[in-house]
């Protein structure tokens, strides 16, 4: 069985992430060294200290301001929470250990931020600097309050040094962040006033902090205790810069900057309640709130026949968590940079979806809250607003989504774009019946014929023709049911793979059977296309068939041919009462090779192969290694990777029902992916998904238009390659 998706997912935290966190440790080592030296210096500097409010009158004003500042922040967040609370309650506290671990690692530990080296280091600098400087300030205040002086002598000097170093680290971080926006902007980037206010403000605070320190040293320390001032290296340099300034003038400047620094700090911190700086608090909260189910799972609409609306067309149809998470977005652009649709120049950017909804939640959401407060109808005065679905978020963006989960995987603050996008699709399809013709055709075919392949010349049994006696009929006695699925049955290229799987299972003497002719679609395409009702009807029908034929039993395992069937059976069918186990053909084949029941020994031609991760096998269900291990065992095969692989794999373009849609935009996703595969220099691309195979085949047609047929990239299912290497001639001929 597959390991629980999320737990394994964590162990395989992105490799770049690991690299950066590893980098981060040596970066802090020199600091430790300096601190050690400071220990040795202790004797010379006994008595070193400083006065908290040196040269400042009326400092009590600060203490007066503090409660106001906290009040302003809390007010901002509480006020905003009224918009979140427009949504439907959706609190789910299952799997607490996993949620808490995520808060620690992903929230406080910023694990995902680190997966991008540059912004990872940048963020680490700013974050550690802020934490350390906050503690330093707090410590100074505490020291002032309690009767015993902690910050004297060597302790004080060590303290000064730490403060100086982290102030500098902060400046480096801010500079990197500013440079990031100017010099190395991401493709999807949206710096607004917030960015400049937050960064500019923080930079200003750090710089004025050093100026204040420098002036204090210049006026009170450098002449009296020069050996103390070396412990504030940055302050010391600043002091030298002021060395020409008369002491009395320097004291005046000091007072001015001190106030600028302090009032600035208090004002800046209020941004916590009103800008994306709120991610300090909200991101860990969202790490907690993120679902613990497999990322590819869509949630059921329970009692669908009794619902007042289907899917989401109004803000208040979202769950509280879905509205809340709009405010968590820091506009980092990572989701969009990883989105296959955006990469191919199609009209979808997950960041813009989240941001546009956030603006909508601000304008319309606040108005709705006001209506509630005034006892008006929720939508009072909102008739002229553009509709959320179709206006704020355009139909074509919703349709372009592959539900591939690359955005969810990339988001450092744990936003789940896919359920939000599919919820809006649900309203398009079920509420408005507004969809591209191709989608309508697919749904109609699913309804009438029980499969999505409109116009296929085949029947469910076509793939068995001339092969029928080799396919054992399911009797209820065997261990495994091989679920062929619609694609494996109705699409000629996929039929070949179905036959390969069957002959491998026979070769390994697996006890399995096939429900001939009676299978029907498990409903996945309907569900991803937003037709939840049709999904439930199809799923109920199939589960009934499984009940009647003895498949729905904890002792039985269903082998799926298609990763989409796999995901639906494994993660979604339990909601519909499924009890059986699920395994993808690559997982089972890997086991069989492992147990020596399949021996890939035949000489297949020497070849280099690149493996394309199917999203619904890989990112959504963490099956990255089984197919690769099979390939590694086949003689004469060298496996090479495309730059985007495993968690970062790029969708072939078929997911989310796009298999049956016309693509809009600059290029096609499958062409982008084929180009990546061709660029590796591999002779063949292997995958484990019948959709990927079709997408690759059609992409090669255009990408390698001018290439001779025998030099074109070959596209194979892992099972086909294994069959060539492991199925004996006798059976292959039969």
């Amino acid at each position: 069985m597959t390991e629980s998706a999320e737990s394994k997912r964590k162990t395989s935290a992105t490799s770049t992430g690991k690299r950066v966190s590893a980098l981060a440790i040596p970066a802090w080592l020199p600091l430790g060294g300096i601190l050690l030296v400071s220990g040795a210096e202790t004797v010379r500097v006994t008595g070193a200290h400083r006065e908290l409010f040196f040269n400042i009158d009326h400092f009590w004003v600060l203490y007066m301001l503090l409660p106001f500042v906290i009040g302003i922040i809390v007010y901002g967040l509480v006020r905003r929470s009224r918009v979140w609370r427009l949504g439907k309650p959706s609190f789910n506290f299952d799997n607490m250990p996993q949620r808490l671990a995520r808060v620690l690692k992903g929230g406080a530990g910023t694990e995902r931020v680190l997966s991008d080296p540059y912004s990872g280091v940048m963020h680490l600098c700013i974050m550690t600097s802020m934490i350390v400087l906050f503690l330093v300030t707090a410590l100074l205040a505490i020291d002032d309050y309690i009767p015993v002086d902690i910050l004297v002598g060597p302790r004080y000097l060590g303290y000064s040094l730490v403060a100086d170093i982290f102030g500098l680290v902060g400046i480096v971080g801010v500079a990197m962040a500013i440079a990031h926006r100017w010099v190395r902007p991401r493709t999807a980037w949206l710096p607004t006033w917030e960015d400049w206010l937050i960064l500019g403000g923080l930079g200003m605070l750090l710089v004025t902090g050093f100026i204040v320190e420098g002036l204090r040293i210049h006026t009170s320390e450098i002449d009296v205790h020069p050996e103390w001032s070396y412990w504030s290296p940055v302050g010391y340099v600043v002091a030298l810069m002021f060395s020409g300034v008369r002491i009395s003038a320097a004291l005046d400047i000091h007072t001015t900057f001190w106030w600028i620094h302090m009032v600035g700090a208090l004002s800046w911190i209020t941004l916590l309640g009103y800008s994306k700086l709120n991610h300090l608090v909200l991101a860990p909260a969202n790490a907690f709130l993120k679902r613990t189910s497999a990322p590819g799972k869509l949630d059921m609409i329970e009692n669908i026949e009794e619902q007042e609306h289907f899917g989401v067309s109004q803000l208040e149809h979202f769950t509280m968590k879905q509205i809340f998470e709009l405010d968590v977005c820091v506009r980092c652009g990572r989701c969009t940079d990883n989105c296959p649709a955006d990469i191919a120049g199609q009209p979808l950017s997950p960041m813009h979806i989240i941001q546009d909804l956030k603006s909508y939640a601000t304008s319309v959401g606040e108005q709705k809250v006001a209506n509630l407060v005034q006892g008006n109808d929720l939508n009072f005065g909102l008739d002229d607003e553009a509709p959320m679905v179709g206006g704020v978020v355009r139909d074509e963006s919703l349709w372009a989504c592959r539900t591939c989960g690359a955005c969810v995987e990339a988001c450092p603050v744990f936003i789940e774009h896919v359920p939000t996008i599919v919820d809006m699709r649900r309203s398009l399809v079920m509420e408005e019946a507004r969809m591209p013709d191709t989608v309508q055709g697919t749904l109609e075919t699913l309804e009438r014929q029980g499969h999505p392949w409109r116009g296929t010349p085949y029947t469910r049994e076509s793939w068995m023709e001339g092969f029928e006696d080799q396919v054992p009929e399911w009797t209820g006695e065997q261990d495994y049911l091989y679920f062929v699925g619609c694609t494996g049955a109705f699409v000629d290229r996929a039929q070949e793979i179905t036959r390969s799987v069957v002959s491998l299972l026979r070769e390994a003497d697996v006890s399995f059977g096939v429900i001939k002719g009676m299978e029907s679609c498990n409903g996945d395409p309907a569900r991803r296309l937003g037709h939840e009702y049709l999904y439930q009807i199809l799923a109920e029908g199939l589960i009934e068939l499984f009940n009647e034929t003895g498949v729905n039993d904890e002792q039985k395992t269903v082998i799926t041919h298609c990763p989409h069937c796999f995901n639906t059976f494994l993660n979604e069918y339990p909601d519909m009462g499924a009890k059986f186990q699920v395994i993808h053909h690559t997982q089972l084949l890997e086991q069989l090779v492992d147990e020596g029941r399949l021996v890939p020994s035949a000489d297949v031609p020497e070849q280099t192969i690149t493996y394309h991760d199917s999203c619904y096998l890989g990112r959504h269900n963490d099956i990255f290694e089984a197919p690769r291990r099979i390939l590694e065992q086949v003689p004469n095969v060298t496996l090479i990777e495309m730059p985007r692989n495993r968690e970062q794999g790029l969708c072939c373009g078929a997911g989310g029902g796009n298999m049956w849609m016309e693509e809009q935009g600059k290029s096609r996703v499958n062409e982008v992916r084929v180009e990546e595969a061709v660029a590796t220099g591999a002779e063949a691309a292997c995958t484990a998904c019948p959709f990927c195979i079709q997408m690759f085949d059609s992409g090669i047609g255009t990408v390698q238009l001018d290439v001779e047929d025998e030099d074109k990239l070959k596209v194979l299912d892992v099972a086909e390659l294994l069959q060539a290497a492991a199925v004996s001639e006798r059976q292959a001929d039969a």
């Binding site: 509420e431 309508q440 009438r448 014929q449 029980g450 409109r454 296929t456 029947t459 469910r460 002719g517």
Partner: protein, 267 residues
């Protein structure tokens, strides 16, 4: 404006040929496994045309009549889900085995029973037998003007302007109401029902009418009243032969192809 649409439930025309089977002895088409019957696509377009007329005129009703076995209810329900108001199911063992004539007779009686509306709409033909006659026979029986195979229908006051698809173009006609129209596929796609409407349609009562309800004797309808006799029903077989035309150059191959086409009397 009040409209009545007559619809028929048929085996899904998208059924792949390989799944299509005929019982030659019983002279019957065997339903394909796992493929549900559907409303004839032209009839769905007819319902779409009716709904647009109702919308354009601002009031009125769209009612549906279907003659057939139990499964015909689904065609009616589908039309109701699209937005039609009431459904009437002509259901009687006596109707079985009928031809276009007996069906048109029963339909015309039902229409008179419900009251002749402003417009009566049919699909240009049922996509199973493709005869395309019922609409015209009903128009004759009710003595109404008719226009067939339409690609566009527009209201102009009390009359209706339509555009017919003809062999070499279009023919635009104006009809007075009441009249009979048959809709062609050029009219455009029928709407996809909203889920709420599907659920409402599922709850709606469909009125069943028997031959007796319509004042028809069992001898007038069904196989008893049929004017067409079926003598045989079989699937035609077609053989495909592949001939590869050899040649050293493209020109030679092309010349060979032309010769082969001439021999086959295609050129």
């Amino acid at each position: 404006m009040d409209v009545i649409v007559c619809v028929k439930q048929i085996p899904d025309p998208e059924t792949p040929a390989a799944a299509f089977k005929v019982d030659e002895a019983a002279m019957q088409v065997l339903p394909a496994q796992g493929i549900s019957p559907v409303i004839s696509p032209f009839d769905a377009q007819a319902v779409e045309a009716a709904l647009r007329i109702k919308d354009a005129s601002g009031d009125g009703t769209v009612n549906i009549i279907s003659l057939g076995p139990d499964s015909a209810r689904d065609a009616i329900k589908h039309s109701l889900a699209m937005g039609a108001d009431e459904g009437y199911h002509l259901k009687d063992d006596a109707f079985e085995g009928g031809d276009a004539w007996t069906i048109a007779l029963a339909l015309s009686k039902a229409i008179q029973h419900l009251g002749v509306p402003d417009v009566l709409i049919f699909g240009r033909q049922a996509a199973d037998w493709d005869q395309g006659t019922v609409g015209s026979i009903v128009a004759e029986l009710l003595d109404l003007p008719s226009a067939t195979v339409l690609r566009a229908v527009e209201l102009s006051g009390d009359s209706i302007t339509v555009s017919r698809v003809v062999a070499d173009g279009f023919e635009n006609i104006e009809l007075s109401t009441p009249c009979v129209l048959t809709i062609s596929n050029e009219f455009g796609d029928p709407r996809y029902p909203q889920l709420r409407q599907i659920m409402q349609a599922a709850r709606k009562q469909v009125t069943e009418l028997t031959a007796a309800d319509l004042g028809l004797d069992a001898s007038e309808v069904g196989s008893a009243g049929s004017r067409i006799q079926m003598h045989a029903l079989f699937q035609p077989t077609s053989d495909v032969e592949v001939e590869i035309i050899e040649g050293d150059s493209p020109e030679e191959k092309a010349a060979g192809l032309v010769n082969a086409l001439r021999e086959a009397k295609i050129l």
